[in-house]
C-alpha cells in the first residue's frame, strides 16, 4: 500500500503534456525520435537520471556530439535512423571518467569495419579521451541495437545502449520491404533494468566493490523512464537525460509498429492490454518463409517475452471488433452525420454496412480478416465496427460512491464520451481516450526500487477519430 499515486509535479507534468498533445498537434503522423544518419558523432559521458521513486542515479551514456546535437548524455542513447543501403559511420569519443577504462560500440547483426582506437576484446576501443570510428552498410531493413562492447557487464548496465532503425527501400511507412510490414505509426521501445547498488558504487568510485555477478535489479525502464515518467512528452526539461517517452496514441484501426529493443540482462514477459500483438519481425528480419512471402510466419499473442539483446517488430491495432456494444453510444435506428468529425467525410456512420447480408440465424458468417468483404464491416473513415452500431451498453454501472476511480477514467465507458468525474479526480484523460497498459507481466517489475507503482509500465491510448494526433 503506497499512499501516493503520482507526485504532484508528475501529475502536473502529465496534465500539461496532455494539453500540449491535444492543442499542439499537426497533421503528419509521428516519426521516430532520434538522429538522422548516415554519419553519427557520439560521445560516451556521465550524467544523472531520475527514477519515479524520487531517486537519481549516475549513468554512463551516449550523447549526440554532432553540430546539431545537444552533446548531453542520454538514457537510452540517441536512436540512430538510417536508410537501407546507407554506409553508416559512427565516431565514438570516450569522455567517461578514467576509472571507466576504454569504451567501444558493438552493432549486433551488422558487418563492421573499424578505424582508429586501440585494440579491445570484441572490437576497437576508444581510450579515455580518445576516439574510434565504426562503419557498416545497412544492408537489411529492420530494428537493431547498439551497446558498449567493453566490459559490457558494467558499461551496458551503466547505460551505454541505444536503438537503430533501418528503413527499407520501400519507404518510411514500412518496417520491411513488403506490404505486410506497412504501418500507420511507429514507436521505439527500449527495455532495460537497473541494479542501483552498482550505480552507487560507481558514483562513490568504489570500483573494487562492484560485483556484477551479484546482479539484482530492482528498477525497470521503458525508454529509460519509469512509469509514469514515460508518459511525459519527449524532451521535457525536467528529464534532461531521459528524452524519449513511450506513449503510443492512435485512432481506431490504425496499425502501430512497436520496435521492441531489449538490451538489459533479464527476460520480460511484456503484455499488451487491449488487443493481441502480431510479431512480424525478430532480430532485424521479417518472419517470412521465403522471399516475397511476406510475414507469413508472423505470430499472434497477448504477451511476448523480450530476450536480452534481441529486437522485435510488433504490430498492434484496435478496432472494437466483436465487442458486442457500441463504443460511441449511438442510439439504435438513428443516423449520425460524420460532418461533426470531419466536414470532408460524407454519408452516415456505417452506411456501407448492410446488416441484411449477415442476418442472424442464417448460415452466413461475418467475414473474417483476409476475406474480401471484411472491410465492409468497418466505417471507411472512422473504422467503427458496424455490426455493433447502435447496440446498447450491456450493463448498468454501479453508482459513483460504490467505485474507485483511476486518473485515466473519463467518467464514461464510451470512446470520446462525456462523463462526470469524482471530486478530486485529476482528470488526466480529457479526450476520453481508451487507455491500455502495456507492461511486464513479471508483476514485481511494476515497481521502482520497492515503490509501487512504477517500473516497466506504459500506456497506449486509442483516441476518438475526432481527436487530432501528432
Amino acid at each position: 500500500m503506497r499512499p501516493h499515486f503520482f507526485s504532484r509535479q508528475t501529475a502536473l507534468g502529465i496534465a500539461l503534456t496532455a494539453l500540449l498533445l491535444v492543442f499542439g498537434s499537426s497533421g503528419a503522423l509521428a516519426a521516430v525520435q532520434g538522429i538522422e544518419g548516415p554519419s553519427f558523432q557520439l560521445t560516451a559521458k556521465t550524467g544523472s537520471i531520475s527514477t519515479s521513486d524520487g531517486e537519481s542515479f549516475l549513468m554512463w551514456g551516449y550523447a549526440d556530439a554532432s553540430a546539431s546535437g545537444n552533446n548531453t548524455m542520454q538514457y537510452p542513447g540517441p536512436t540512430l535512423i538510417v536508410n537501407q543501403g546507407d554506409v553508416v559511420t559512427v565516431t565514438l569519443t570516450n569522455s567517461l571518467p578514467a576509472e571507466a577504462g576504454n569504451t567501444s560500440i558493438v552493432f549486433p547483426g551488422q558487418v563492421v569495419t573499424t578505424s582508429g582506437g586501440v585494440p579491445g576484446v570484441l572490437t576497437q576501443e576508444a581510450a579515455t579521451g580518445g576516439s574510434v570510428t565504426y562503419q557498416f552498410t545497412a544492408t537489411h531493413p529492420g530494428t537493431f541495437l547498439y551497446r558498449s562492447g567493453s566490459q559490457p557487464d558494467l558499461q551496458v548496465e551503466m547505460g551505454l545502449v541505444g536503438a537503430i532503425v533501418v528503413y527499407p527501400s520501400m519507404g518510411r511507412s514500412y518496417a520491411y520491404n513488403h506490404e505486410d510490414a506497412r504501418f500507420d505509426r511507429e514507436f521505439v521501445l527500449v527495455i532495460t533494468e537497473m541494479d542501483p547498488t552498482i550505480h552507487r558504487m560507481v558514483e562513490y568510485e568504489e570500483f573494487n566493490l562492484i560485483d556484477t555477478s551479484a546482479y539484482y535489479p530492482t528498477n525497470w525502464f521503458a525508454n529509460g523512464r519509469n512509469f509514469p515518467d514515460n508518459l511525459s512528452d519527449d524532451f521535457v526539461p525536467w528529464l534532461p537525460h531521459q528524452p524519449y517517452k513511450f506513449n503510443p496514441r492512435l485512432h481506431p484501426g490504425e496499425r502501430v509498429l512497436v520496435r521492441s529493443v531489449s538490451v538489459g540482462n533479464q527476460l520480460h514477459p511484456f503484455h499488451y492490454h487491449g488487443n493481441d500483438i502480431e510479431v512480424i519481425g525478430e532480430g532485424g528480419r521479417l518472419l517470412s518463409s521465403g522471399p516475397g512471402m511476406g510475414a507469413d510466419l508472423a505470430w499472434q499473442a497477448a504477451t511476448r517475452r523480450t530476450i536480452p539483446g534481441q529486437t522485435a517488430d510488433v504490430m498492434w491495432t484496435w478496432n472494437a471488433e466483436q465487442l458486442g456494444w457500441d463504443i460511441y453510444d449511438h442510439q439504435p435506428g438513428v443516423d449520425y452525420p460524420r460532418a461533426e468529425i470531419d466536414t470532408t467525410w460524407t454519408g452516415n456512420i456505417c452506411d456501407n454496412f448492410d446488416p441484411l447480408l449477415y442476418e442472424p440465424n442464417t448460415t452466413t458468417q461475418l467475414p473474417a480478416p483476409g476475406d474480401p468483404d471484411y472491410a465492409d464491416l468497418f466505417d471507411p473513415f472512422t473504422n467503427e465496427y458496424c455490426p455493433d452500431h447502435g447496440t446498447l451498453f450491456p450493463v448498468i454501472l454501479p453508482t459513483r460512491d460504490s467505485l474507485s476511480f483511476g486518473p485515466y477514467y473519463a467518467g464514461t465507458p464510451f470512446l470520446g464520451g462525456e462523463g462526470e468525474l469524482a471530486p478530486g479526480d485529476p482528470g488526466l484523460n480529457a479526450t476520453a481516450g481508451y487507455f491500455y497498459m502495456w507492461h511486464s507481466h513479471t508483476e514485481k517489475e511494476l515497481t521502482s526500487n520497492d515503490i509501487w507503482p512504477g517500473g516497466l509500465v506504459t500506456f497506449a491510448i486509442v483516441e476518438h477519430p475526432a481527436v487530432p494526433l501528432p
Binding site: M1, P3, F5, D180, H268, P269, H271, H273, G274, D276, G294, L297, A298, W299, Q300, A301, A302, T303, W318, N319, A320, E321, Q322, L323, G324, I327, N361, P394, V395, I396, L397, P398, S402, L403, S404, F405, G406, P407, Y408, Y409, A422, G424, P426, N429, Y434, F435, Y436, M437, S440, H441, T442, E443, K444, E445, T447, N449, I451, W452, P453, F459
Partner: protein, 434 residues
Amino acid sequence: MQLDNCNPAARRRPGQRKGNAMKAFRYYLPLILALFLLAVMPQTWASIAVQCPEDTDGIDADGDGDPANDIVCRHITGGDGFATMADGRRLYMFSFGDADDHQPLDPAGPPVEETPANKALEAELPAPRITLREGQELYLTMTNVSMVLRPDLFDPHSVHWHGFPNAAPIFDGLPEPSPTPNMMASFTYYYKAAHPGTYFYHCHVEAAEHMQMGMIGNLWVTPKQNELPDGTVLLGGFVHNAGNKYAYNDGDGSTFYDVEIPIQMTGMDSAFHDASEFVTPLMFAEMHDNYTMINGRGYPDTMDPNVIFNQDGTPGFGAQKTPTLIDLEQGQILLMRVSNVSTTHIYSMATTTGVPMKVVGRGAALLRGPTGEDTSFEVNVLNVGGGQAFDVLLDTQDVPPGKYFLYTTTLQFLANGDQERGGIMTEINVSAAP
C-alpha cells in the same frame, strides 16, 4: 489503493488561513453535510447486485442448437482467505471466491445481499474456473467482500480477462482507466466470447501485490468446431464425430483432444504473504516465490483428488479445489492448457514420457500464420513467461502404460518452501487401452 483525493491532507490548501471559528466551520461543514445527505439519500451506495439478463433473442450464437443458452452469468467474490501449502504451511491470501450459490443465480440460495457475510474468508486458489463456448456472452459479477484480516485496507478489486482481443477499458479491470468496485459493492463485467482459446483472469488492482497474493483463475473458451454436426468431414479427411473436442477452430482436426487439464503455474513468496497478514511493509524489490505450484498446489498435493481445507476454523474452508491429476489411456491425446501467472519468475516445463509436446496455441491464438501457414511446433521443454499461455497436446500413442511426471525443468522450483521434491510437479498415469 489510496489516491490523493482520499487523503484529507491533500485537499487542504496550505495558503488558506482563516480564524478559528471559520476553520472549525470549514472542518465540520462536510460532516454536517454528510449527515444531512445520509438522512435524505436513498441507500443506493451499498450496491451488491448481480446483473443477469435472459437470453430471449432467439439467436443460437454459440451454435449448439439451443437459442436460449447463450448468456452465462457468474458471480464471484473478491476478498481474502487462507491456502495450505504442500508442506502444511498456511499462507494468507487474497483471491476470488464462488458466489454462484446465492440469489439470483441460485433461486434457492441466500439473498445476494448476504454475499459478503456468507463468503468472508472464502477466497479460492486458484480462483473459480470460468469456461465458455465461443459465441456466448458472459455477465461476470464480482462482489468485493472486503478483507477480513486487514480492516486497515479499503482496496477495490477488479477482473482483468487477460488476452481478451479488442477489449474496452470499462471491462478491462485496469484501475487506472476504469472504475473498480469498493468493498461491499458489485461490478458486472460483460464479455462476448468471440475467440476460442486458453485465457486466465486476475485482479489488476495494485497487480504486483494482489496477484502475488493469489487473485488469479483459469478461463477458457471452447471453439464452435465442437458443435459441428456429426459426420462432418474436415480438411484432410478428418471426420468430426459428435462430442469431439478441439482447442481451436482448426478446420482439420489438428487440435483434437480426449482429455484437457489446466496447468496454471504460479508461486507465492511466503515472506510477502506473512508481511501482508501481519500488516508490515510489503517488500516488492525482494519478492521471490519460494512456494511454486500448479493450480494452487505444490507436489504432492497436485495429486490429491480431494478439496484441500485451510484449517481456518472447524473444519476449515476448502479453498484449493483443483487437483492436477492426469489419468490417460494409451492412445489418448491430452490437451494441457498451460499458463504462467507468477509475479516473479519464468518457468520451463517438461514431461518424462519421452514423447515431445506439440504446441498448437499461444496466447489464446491457433498457431497459424496470417496466410494459414502451420506454425505449430514440437518441444521437449516449454518455456513460459508470466502472462503467457500455451495450448499443448501430448499424444500418448507411443507412451507405454506407466507412471510419468510433468515437472518444471527450472529445478530449483521443485520445492515447497525448504521442503524438497515438491513445487511444480504432478504425475501422468497412462493405463493400457481397453
